[in-house]
Symmetry: C2
């Protein structure tokens, strides 16, 4: 199989590339070539005997989608995007990168005869907007509250229509909030959900801006990478028009996070969390969804962590090299 | 008020133009100018003292949206589209006219400072796909089964996002099947719903290809024109992200149609209907929705006919000049 990853320098794209390089298999078949593309040069994963190509390029620039798709990869994993905050501030850039680049990719695929690759698209639960029920069913109406969510939903619709017409074989994955995000603290409003675990696990202080009762919906970086690798191999014949799937996740409160941290790393780790209520952050987070049923995706074999202890273990194993 | 109608040569566009010209008012204010645009030259309605401009132009051609919007109309009614069957056959043309032209219009509006027109978009119940419940609630998930439905839904999403950002003040109207369609029989699969009334009312034979129990969802051409004129004046502040509205309609069976025809025009009219079962047409129609709640739109004051007798009366009054 020849695999193209778009957005391969991102946090999940890197994980997928590392897993593919290590396993040399995808969708039940052997991996032949791996092409890694992002706006910055992606790292080159180790452990793969086949051909790896890395390239830094703006996917939304003229001709780029055509050239990349022209290699006829069997599987395309598309994770390249402008994030939510930036798409809200830079309206033009958001539509250009998040929507127009997708359409250019799909048009490039459609233009090639006898070619119908599996296309796995990184969508988002941001396709949904408030008000939310306590637990969101698969058939909840997508009503995005941001330009980012609008763009992701429009891409899902394009992918489903191009798939219905037989031009491509697409699946859209609506991803939960990733926890524990590796790396340095960032300024995203959701950053504390990872920070209150990641920083204390490394012996560093962390700030908690919301009440302990705050509930949200998580999957680990490893689970997210698994979603893409699983989606690359599922039988899509049964999906019909239901090609946009809510991914499974763990619904947990901040209190659940802290209790798990206590069990895994002890009270001295918990003591590194400093409560600094921030009304702005608390207000933003209060508008977010708390839980999803994700029934269809679970039936299709997608899996996420069952508790916060597992999410912490994944972080220790994958990011710090610690044994479980 | 300065009003621009796109798709003004179409069946509903013509009705709206005639109504506006006759009433010289829209959204509670006096009408100053009326600009009528379509791919063929729209007719010039009578009875209006103000300025009427008509123009034949391809809305999807470069620069056209910018030029039309550059006149800064206060209200834009956008009904121009490639119909469902053609969008299915000509994939490029469907996306170009039904999606790209909408985006060009919205971009042209956004580019003008201190300008935020009311924009009423002709969407369709084709944003929904099967399987359907017997009566479809407002919160039924749109899952289009055609490229046309996909394009209409993407336009709704764009209009809602541009409205959220304050670039435009948009409302999308998901229109029922129009009955009784005036004019000659056409080859649309839904054509018989109008034909079995329109033709016998004119003393002509009509073919019925489906069982009498077949149920569908209708509004008259007059009701459809009313939807646009009403939408031009509603208070959109309460809509939030719910700017795509299922329009009210009448859920009725073929038997209901025939019973109403009997009451209005007598058994000699009913005798002109010839039953010629057509498995292909019956199969297509069996996949269509039978009824919608349209609760939100009714609360907002949108109204459709309450029975088939009223739909026939509207046809006689508006198309044949007969008294009710």
């Amino acid at each position: 199989m020849n695999v193209l990853i778009l957005g391969a320098a991102g946090m999940i794209g890197r994980k997928i590339a590392q897993r593919l390089a290590a396993e040399s298999r995808i969708a039940g078949q052997s991996l032949e070539t791996l092409t890694l593309v992002d706006v910055v040069e992606p790292g080159r994963p180790e452990g793969f005997d086949g051909e790896i190509t890395t390239e830094a390029v703006d996917l939304s620039a003229p001709g780029v989608a055509e050239r990349l798709v022209g290699q006829r990869p069997d599987i395309i994993l598309h994770l390249a995007a402008i994030v939510s905050g930036e798409a809200e501030v830079d309206f033009d850039k958001g539509y250009r990168v998040n929507l127009d680049a997708m359409r250019a990719l799909l048009e490039a695929i459609r233009s090639l005869p006898d070619y119908c690759p599996r296309f796995v698209f990184a969508s988002s639960l941001a396709v949904f907007g408030p008000p939310f029920p306590a637990r969101i069913p698969d058939d909840f109406v997508p009503r995005p509250a941001t330009s980012y969510g609008t763009q992701k939903l429009m891409c899902e619709l394009l992918l489903t229509d191009y798939s219905r017409k037989g031009f491509v074989d697409g699946v859209s994955l609506r991803l939960p909030t990733i926890c524990i995000r590796p790396g340095a603290p960032n300024r995203a409003a959701s950053g504390f959900f990872s920070g209150i675990l990641r920083e204390p696990l490394a012996g560093l202080p962390a700030v908690l801006p919301v009440p302990d009762s705050t509930r949200h919906y998580f999957a680990s970086p490893r689970a997210a990478a698994n979603f893409f690798l699983h989606a690359a191999g599922i039988d899509t014949a049964s999906l019909g028009q239901r090609r946009a799937l809510i991914m499974p996740g763990l619904s947990a409160t901040v209190a659940d996070e802290i209790a798990a941290l206590d069990r895994v790393a002890g009270p001295e780790a918990v003591a590194l969390i400093r409560r600094e209520p921030d009304q702005l952050v608390a207000g933003i987070v209060a508008g977010w969804a708390e839980d999803y049923e994700a029934t269809h995706a679970r039936e299709l074999g997608f899996e996420a962590e069952a508790d916060m202890d597992a999410i912490i273990r994944v972080h220790l194993e994958d990011e710090t090299g610690a044994a479980s």
